[in-house]
Amino acid sequence: MALRAEGETTNKAEGTERAAARGPRAGRPGRVLAVETADVEFVGITKAFHELTAVDDLNLKVEAGEFFSLLGPSGCGKTTSLRMLGGFEEPTTGRILLGGQDVTYLPPYRRDVNTVFQSYALFPHLNVFENVAFGLRRQRFDRTEIRRRVGEILEIVDLPNYEKRQSSQLSGGQQQRVALARALVNEPKVLLLDEPMSALDAKLRRQMQIELKRIQAQVGITFLYVTHDQEEAMTMSNRLAVMWHGRIEGMGSPKDVYDNPTTEFVASFLGASNLLPGTIESKSSDVVSVAVEGGVTVHVPPARLPDLGDSRAVKVGVRPEKIGIAEVSSTVPDGYNSIHGRVVVSTFTGVGNQYIVETPLGVTVTVYAQNIGRQWAPRSGDEVILTWPVEHTFTVKPLPTSVEINETEGD
């Protein structure tokens, strides 16, 4: 209760004082803003719509200045989480802290966050200048200050001299930049981005990803980014959380989550994984042996073992690009796992070769070999041996068989 009362004093007017206190130089590019205080915390957030639980006991902390992504298929609760932070939805239970203050029940116009909407939501009756100035006008800045700040932010998003344009005269990419400028110009504690790239074509999207990283580095504001595109999330984020059915399935730096997936969902949603069902045979301090169904034993570092409870059933995983493919006669080096197989499909993708290898285990394994022009390239029908280092082997808790991961879920 005490926290909530405190939270209610955080309004946009206070934001004005804060902004004004920084003085005329505060708006300069390259500054670092309010690093000490700004962070986001979801504490036990649950959101239920009638029967459906969109977000289920979400606990999440975003550090100041971070580029944090919520990644997951549509309907996983990522947008709902973002909307709760924006103030457009109220959680059923739990608290949301913004810079240490409880904002759970504050209306959107009294929170120091700004949103870039999926549809951009530019005001069609206002020109670019008035769109960007909208937030500043609400904070009652004087005219020259508004003019200066709008000009500056349009410079940052690379749209100088676009003030007089109507939003209907802008291309999709330009509209997105205006939406970004309109949110950033208020210098919020956190910028929320709700799938802002989904309306752009692939080329423009990649360009904007780099742009967005640059802008974030330049303004130093915390970005909370929602996307269903795993590549996008990995490219841009300092840290990300993979969400599924309203829960966080994995969280950490992109490399960490990619290399050490802790659940079957993360392993298959974030990049591709070969998952082999098996049973734990023995555990020692430096190696775990897993008997894979079909009669092969695979070694796994003990650190890569998830919390399984009493169960011994696991899925052993390895990423396609971590597997080496070699002639069947070659020897397996120490510290490597190996499986025999036969190449069924070989696909050349330019940057590499993708092989689908049939194994006696009853599962097919995907192998990805980079096209660096040296290694032996098998053809369809060739007998091969697949090897990969033990340290690149992970295990995940198998999902109940009734649960299916539909990878096309995220459009």
Partner: protein, 278 residues
């Protein structure tokens, strides 16, 4: 190839006919609609014969006298200003209420807005019900409630029959409204009132204005309801109807021409504004 060549002439012939017929037809329709008004405008410049200054439909010669003496019939001038006041007041009230009602109907559903379907039925009834029934029942109600007939009863009844038209027009405009625009306004620090004034209202303004114009037009030429409810002072249409039994003073045509000119002016303005925006 040959089929195309033989088909071509008949096609262009049909087109040529279309190019002639459509304008001819359009102008006939326009003439049909405008003819009575033209008669009125012409006879507003007609001289009268004898001491009774009443309109006669034989041409007695051109005069601008009635335009110079436009306010010489005290009852008429009074009735006209009453109509203007009545129109403006009822338009203002019905536009505000009708817009609010339209927003409620578009945005809220039964758990929060109980009786929404009843509201919609009443709106439809309001438009469909014969005015004579509305007028008679309103008169009955005011008499039984002992409310004297006058400006108040006129305003109440005009708001009542025009509110449905405003609601329908504004609702059509609101149907395609992107709610994320309002969320964006909240997000940028605008409270609900500022959001309404700065974002929602400007975007639905064409619908609101169209509704207001319709409400005003309905009010200014309403005869049936007003005839039941006007007390000592009658609005313009009721007054004109009253004097037709004796004879029409030419100033009636002057006012008629004036109202028509204002209407045309408004129509042209709206076209010009609409063109500028594109």
């Amino acid at each position: 190839m040959s089929a195309l060549e033989t088909a071509a002439p008949s096609h262009t012939t049909r087109r040529r006919w279309g190019r002639v017929l459509l304008p001819v037809y359009s102008w006939l329709v326009i003439a049909y609609l405008v003819f009575p008004i033209v008669i009125m405008i012409i006879y507003s410049f007609n001289k009268t014969i004898g001491s009774m200054q009443l309109v006669s439909f034989t041409w007695n010669g051109f005069t601008g006298q009635w335009y110079r003496q436009w306010s010489d019939v005290p009852g008429l001038t009074q009735a006209f200003w009453l109509s203007i006041r009545l129109g403006l007041t009822s338009t203002l009230i019905s536009t505000v209420l009708g817009t609010m009602l339209a927003m409620a109907l578009v945005r809220y559903r039964p758990p929060r807005f109980r009786g929404k379907s009843i509201f919609e039925q009443v709106l439809f009834l309001n438009i469909a019900a014969p005015e004579i029934v509305l007028g008679a029942s309103l008169l009955g109600m005011f008499v039984s409630l002992n409310i004297g007939r006058g400006f108040l009863t006129l305003v109440l009844s005009h708001v009542m029959f025009s509110i449905a038209y405003v609601t329908v027009t504004v609702r059509a405009r609101l149907a395609g409204f992107d709610r994320s625009l309002e969320e964006a306004a909240y997000d940028l620090g605008a409270n609900p009132w500022t959001t309404f004034v700065r974002v929602t209202l400007p975007l639905i303004m064409p619908g609101v204005l169209a509704g207001a114009l319709m409400a005003f037009a309905l009010s200014i030429d309403d005869f049936v309801t007003s005839n039941f409810l006007s007390g000592a002072s009658a609005p313009f249409p009721v007054w004109v109807y009253g004097v037709t039994r004796v004879g029409i003073p030419p100033q009636v045509f002057v006012f008629g021409t004036g109202i028509f000119a204002v209407g045309i002016g408004l129509a042209i303005t709206s076209i010009v504004i609409a063109r500028k925006k594109v």
